[in-house]
């Protein structure tokens, strides 16, 4: 199965990066779930959590607000001024 390459970055460092099966984030329009093969998208995040399901099924939660999410060719970048793992 295809996998997503996810990186969560904040202003001064990369918070997390790795492969994932699924990622769920809250945008200004509502929650969005991204699976491998998603079309390219640029979405503005609203305050909330980003949940990343890694390849072995673990869920990594990060707080990210005030940023955006971009998807292209199975590369997901969550960018936020202040992103932190929970």
């Amino acid at each position: 199965m295809a996998e997503l390459k996810v990186s969560v970055v904040s202003a001064d460092h990369e918070v997390w990066s790795g492969a994932a099966k699924q990622i769920i984030a809250r945008t200004t329009e509502g929650e969005i779930g991204i699976l491998p093969g998603h079309e390219p998208i640029l979405a503005i995040l609203s305050a909330g959590e980003v949940r990343v399901t890694t390849m072995d099924g673990n869920v990594i939660t990060a707080t990210a607000s005030d940023g955006f999410l971009s998807v292209e060719h199975n590369v997901v970048t969550v960018v936020s001024r202040q992103a932190e793992l929970v």
Binding site: S7, V9, S10, A11, D12, H13, E14, T27, T28, E29, I32, E39, P40, I41, L42, A43, I44, G67, F68, S70, E72, H73, T77, V79, R81
Partner: protein
């Protein structure tokens, strides 16, 4: 001890003390460069992601955004100068201030008014001494820039940019900072932040790589609205980090040459002191010999 000799010994002592200080500063700066460089590297993923996203939106949406369109007439331009809080860094501050002056002269010759935003105590001092006006200043943390300050600066300049020119707003924003190229070279650089010019500044896409056709959520113009201030902030933050790394490198270089100079001085004065001591001894011997001669000839 003769007067001459004493003077030389004093000079040697003072050069030695100075050398101790400059050597210590050199070592401190050297250890800080590494940390500053790491911070520059750590902030790269963020600025890369932001830049990529901004170029994605700007290229693939037909929205006319204030921040990207060139105004018809530029009346006023803002210059943000990134200097340091402390001196003892060779030509670091001189370079960046000279570059800013040149830019200001150029802009003024095109009939634009120039307003300044200053970062770092040195540039504030420079403007204060010349009794020149500046819009706003940030001091006290150039050695260890925090993102909040970058955000503050970004907010301030973007707010000014969005104001109409008739109410004192600016139509153009430039930043001047020292770019960290290597431990040995740092060069002052001028970048025009707004209106956006070179969006793909960090990493141009490869020849056959096409930027993806993005879907936007919400509208493209809203996304651009949210992204551009973030982009400006990240550029400003990057400039601050580069400037901090350059400052440490410049300090290290300046302090190294100061220590070398002190070494040279110590050498020269030691030679002179030896000469003085030797001639003193020679003189004493000839005095004794002369005295003994006089005594022995008086006995006869």
């Amino acid at each position: 001890m003769g007067a001459q000799l004493r003077v030389y010994r004093q000079k040697i002592k003072s050069a030695k003390t100075t050398k101790k200080i400059t050597r210590a500063m050199e070592l401190i700066a050297a250890s800080r460069i590494q940390k500053a460089q790491q911070r520059v590297a750590a902030s790269l993923p963020y600025s890369r992601a932001v830049t990529r996203a901004v170029s994605g939106v700007a290229t693939f949406s037909n929205v006319d955004h204030v921040l990207t369109t060139e105004p018809e007439k530029i009346e006023r331009a803002a210059i943000v100068i990134f200097s340091s809080d402390r001196g003892l860094a060779g030509a670091f501050n001189t370079n960046v201030l000279r570059e800013a002056e040149e830019l200001a002269t150029l802009l003024q010759s095109q009939g634009r008014e120039v307003v300044y935003y200053l970062v770092g105590r040195k540039s504030v001092g420079y403007f204060g001494f010349r009794k020149r006006a500046y819009e706003q200043s940030w001091i006290g943390e150039t050695e260890n820039p925090v993102f909040e300050t970058a955000k503050e600066i970004g907010d301030a300049v973007v707010a000014k940019f969005l104001q109409p020119a008739s109410e004192g707003g600016v139509d153009e924003i430039h930043i001047v900072y020292n770019r960290f190229i290597s431990m040995l070279t740092q060069s002052p650089e001028v970048v025009r932040l707004l209106p956006l010019e070179i969006v793909e500044g960090v990493e141009p896409p490869a020849e056959n790589e096409v930027l993806p056709l993005y879907e936007f959520e919400p509208e493209a113009s809203d996304v651009l609205d949210a992204l551009l201030p973030v982009y400006i902030e990240s550029r400003i933050f990057n400039a601050m980090l580069q400037s901090a790394a350059s400052k440490h490198a410049a300090t290290q270089k300046a302090m190294k040459s100061a220590s070398d100079n002190a070494d040279k001085l110590i050498d020269t004065y030691t030679r002179l002191a030896n000469n003085a001591r030797q001639s003193e001894i020679t003189q004493q011997i000839s005095e004794i010999v002369g005295g003994a001669d006089a005594l022995s000839s008086a006995k006869k």
